[in-house]
Every structure is written in structure tokens, then in C-alpha cells.
């Protein structure tokens, strides 16, 4: 079951996962820092190691259009992008879920312009968080690979049949060589059944896809998609549990680290969670009761699991990697606050935005955040901080 770990660049591990899943179509446009994934896939196709159609499109808008068409034709479909590329896909991103086309996309997270910046934060995915995609966040190389495999299973499950994005921190993960265990092709086939599309372009049974929704049907079509997205949470849990049975690695919608007696909990997403846990170890050694709650499934938001995970805490320090302009608080904090608002007992919530445009996130940052989150609420002092900004 558990193979030997090998050293592999995380981008290549993701491409290998797509090969192991035997994707039929890859339509992509290169953009930093995602390029290595599709570069490697084009090599695999050219070398005959992956029997797929590789479509080198002329833009990301075309990439996503091709992917939607390809998934509708019943092909297992993959693409990858970052930042401006994701932004250019925008209109198609909102279409895929309503058409129930199960495209799998790696988003190698990178800051949005301006200023032009190729480094990591979460502004790209956060700008399209309401599009209706299932979205998961990877913490390390192995997760990036495993979540890619699981993404196909979740996306193509007929109860879901929605597009899924696997979010992988640009450079911090994508360009690092990490020890990863590659599953055997046979193992993946045992976990991932053949794709049987729910909605299919079929000459024998023709349908029209991509219709006009008049005021008499638009609301209902949106609601139908939301119902499916919300219900997909159970399928994600099932796919995670089954993955553990097949491959031995455990995944949960929300992960906790030393939270049982924690007075303060750091809420994180993605690769900075590992730094946060190291910082927590050091603070614990000094007697600080602090822990980490990591959101792995971002869409649909795992409300119950998240609430259960943060329950013991007095202070919640929500960490965002995207700055929302025009309103205090980042996207994660806005959501956490809104879902806890109606609860009679809730922790004191403070929000910290950091690691923008590739700025390093250090253990000291988490120690500083923990200290601030423990301070009693001072009137007139916003419980928000753009950490490390030089004003």
C-alpha cells in the first residue's frame, strides 16, 4: 500500500497524479507559477505516457471553454492556471458549475496584479470564490498530489458533477522538491471509477447545453447549483475516507492541531499551516495554550466541522492571504464572522492579513498574532491587522 517516498518537484507530482488518473484531455495555457504542471503533462502526452489530447490553447478563457466542452463530451478533463490566468477564465468559471461539467483544475496560487507580482498569496482564488466550484487547499507536496487524485473522484461523482479546484501555493509548494509517495496506476484505478458523465453531449441522445435562463428560470437554476454544491460536502468526506482505505493517508475537511485545551486558535489555509504548527510547538513549550485549525475544504464551507473544531477557543485569530479593498477583514474572516454571528457564545475574533505577493510568513508572525489575539478587546482598536506593513 504505502510505497517509497521519492524526491519530486510538487508541480511534477501534480502532473504525475493527472497521469495516474488517466486524464483524457488537458487544455491549458502557460502562466507562472503553474507552468511546470502543464509543461510536464505535455511531455507525458508527447512521450506516449499519457493517452490524452493536449490542447495548447491561445488563452485561459479558451482553456476553460475547451475544458467545459471536453467534460461535457464525457472526457476526464484537467487544466491548471494562476493569478491573471484565472482572472481571464472568470466568465467561464461561473458557467462550468451550472452546466455540471466536472473539470479538475490546479490553481497554483499567485497574487493578482497590480502591481505585477508572480509570487504567492490567495488573491486569485478568493476573487472567484463564489463561482460555484468545489475548492480544496493543499498544505504540502503529498497533499497536492493526493488532492488532485481525490478531485477527479469528487468532481465526477454523479451526485456532484461539479468542477473542482485544487489550490496549491505558488513557489512555496509548486517549485519545491518534496518527498512524495506516488500511488501505483492500478491503485488509482481501484479508487477512481471510470467517468460516467451525468450531463453528456451524445449524438445518439442530443441535448442543448448552455441555455438562456430567463427571469422565470434563472433563480431556480442558481439554486439548483447551490443545492448540489452544498450537498457535495458529504461526497467530499466520503472520497477522503475512501482515500484513507486505499492509500492509508488521512484527510479531513478541517484539520486541528493541539486544539483540545487551546485558548487561542489560529485559523489557516494552505502551506503556511506548517509554519503555524511549528510556531505553535515553540509557544506550547513556553506554556501558551495555542492551536491551529486548518480549513482544507473551502467550498462548500464545512460549517459544522469548522464550528466543532474551534469550539474550545476563547480567541480566534483568522489568517487571510488576500486583502479585500474597501472593507476591513479578509475573505476568510468575513465568512467566519458571518457564520458565528448568530451563535450565543462565540470566541473573540481577530483578523490578520499577511504573506501578500510572496512576502515571507514566519514563526515570529504567528507568535505576534497569538499575542495580539490574546489581548482583551480594546475599544476603538480594530481587531484587524495588516501584519508587517511598513507605513
Amino acid at each position: 500500500m504505502a510505497g517509497k517516498p521519492i524526491g519530486l518537484e510538487v508541480s511534477l507530482a501534480v502532473a504525475e497524479a493527472v497521469r495516474l488518473c488517466d486524464a483524457d484531455v488537458v487544455a491549458a495555457y502557460p502562466i507562472t507559477p503553474q507552468t511546470h504542471i502543464v509543461e510536464h503533462l505535455s511531455e507525458l502526452v508527447a512521450d506516449g505516457k499519457l493517452d490524452a489530447a493536449y490542447i495548447p490553447v491561445e488563452s485561459e478563457q479558451s482553456a476553460m471553454s475547451s475544458c467545459i466542452g471536453s467534460a461535457a463530451a464525457g472526457a476526464r478533463t484537467f487544466t491548471a492556471t494562476s493569478s491573471q490566468g484565472l482572472a481571464l477564465m472568470n466568465e467561464m468559471l461561473y458557467i462550468a458549475p451550472v452546466l455540471r461539467t466536472p473539470v479538475v483544475m490546479a490553481i497554483v496560487n499567485r497574487a493578482l496584479s497590480a502591481p505585477i507580482n508572480i509570487w504567492n498569496d490567495h488573491s486569485d482564488i478568493m476573487s472567484v470564490r463564489d463561482a460555484g466550484w468545489v475548492a480544496v487547499f493543499a498544505e504540502n507536496g503529498q497533499e497536492s498530489l493526493d488532492l488532485t487524485v481525490m478531485a477527479f473522484r469528487i468532481a465526477e461523482d454523479p451526485r456532484v458533477s461539479l468542477p473542482v479546484s485544487v489550490n496549491i501555493d505558488g513557489f512555496t509548494l509548486s517549485h519545491f522538491i518534496e518527498p512524495v509517495v506516488l500511488p501505483e496506476p492500478g491503485e488509482v484505478a481501484g479508487y477512481l471509477p471510470p467517468f460516467r458523465p451525468l450531463v453528456k453531449l451524445d449524438i445518439a441522445k442530443p441535448v442543448s447545453i448552455g441555455l438562456l435562463g430567463t427571469p422565470e428560470s434563472y433563480t431556480e437554476a442558481r439554486k439548483a447549483t447551490d443545492d448540489v454544491l452544498l450537498a457535495s460536502k458529504a461526497v467530499v468526506s466520503e472520497a477522503f475516507a475512501d482515500f484513507r482505505k486505499h492509500f492509508g493517508r488521512e484527510y479531513n475537511l478541517v484539520e486541528t492541531y493541539l486544539t483540545e485545551d487551546a485558548e487561542t486558535i489560529l485559523v489557516t489555509m494552505g502551506s503556511i499551516s506548517e509554519t503555524a504548527m511549528t510556531a505553535v510547538d515553540e509557544m506550547r513549550a513556553e506554556g501558551v495554550k495555542v492551536g491551529v485549525v486548518r480549513i482544507r475544504l473551502w467550498r462548500p464551507f464545512p460549517v459544522e466541522e469548522f464550528k466543532a473544531a474551534i469550539r474550545p477557543a476563547k480567541n480566534l485569530a483568522v489568517i487571510d492571504r488576500h486583502m479585500v479593498l474597501g472593507v476591513p477583514d479578509g475573505p476568510v474572516a468575513l465568512e467566519v464572522k458571518s457564520l458565528l454571528y448568530a451563535d450565543p457564545v462565540r470566541p473573540a475574533i481577530s483578523n490578520y492579513v499577511l504573506g501578500l505577493g510572496g512576502r515571507d510568513v514566519t514563526r515570529d508572525d504567528f507568535k505576534h498574532i497569538t499575542k495580539r489575539a490574546q489581548e482583551p478587546e480594546a475599544p476603538g482598536r480594530p481587531r484587524f491587522e495588516l501584519v508587517g506593513v511598513w507605513e
Binding site: 442543448s208 447545453i209 441555455l211 422565470e216 428560470s217
Partner: protein
Amino acid sequence: MAKEIDALMKVRDLPAGFTAEPGSTLAFKTGDWRSMRPKLDREKCIYCGFCYIYCPDGVYQDMGKDEKWYKPDFDYCKGCGVCAHECPKDCIEMVLEEV
């Protein structure tokens, strides 16, 4: 608030992926959007097919080698005037739609 009657179909009755049977646009007659209609002078027509090719709605029908002209289907012609603009012989005139 919208009454139930304002909606075409209940959420639970919508087909997955918001699909419909093919050719459903045939039931959607766009001809009543028209304020101008193309009027053809068949004397000047050279049967080149530009109107047939350029019409964005595929409204022109090829009447064949004997009749040698293209006939618009006014159930769907929106009156955009593209055909009149493209005709190399100026044989299509846009005239006011009389109701």
C-alpha cells in the same frame, strides 16, 4: 416577492446541468423584435449568397438553382440589416415594419 407562478419550473424539476432538448430555440420566435424588415429586389439579385452567409440568425433559405434566390424566414429575422449592408448589388432595402 415573486409568486410561484412567475417561475417556469421548480428547482427540483430542473434537468441536471440546465439542459433542454435540442433545437428548442425554434420555439423562440425572435421575429417580433423587428422594427425594420429586409425587402428584396429579385430583379437585381445575382444569387451570390452573401445574405445567406452573413445573416447572423441563419434566416435565409436557399431556394435552389431553378428559383435562384434566398428567402428570409420572418419568424426569426430580427431586422438587424446586416444582409442589406453586405449585399454587393444593393438589392436589399430595410423598410419600416408595419404592424
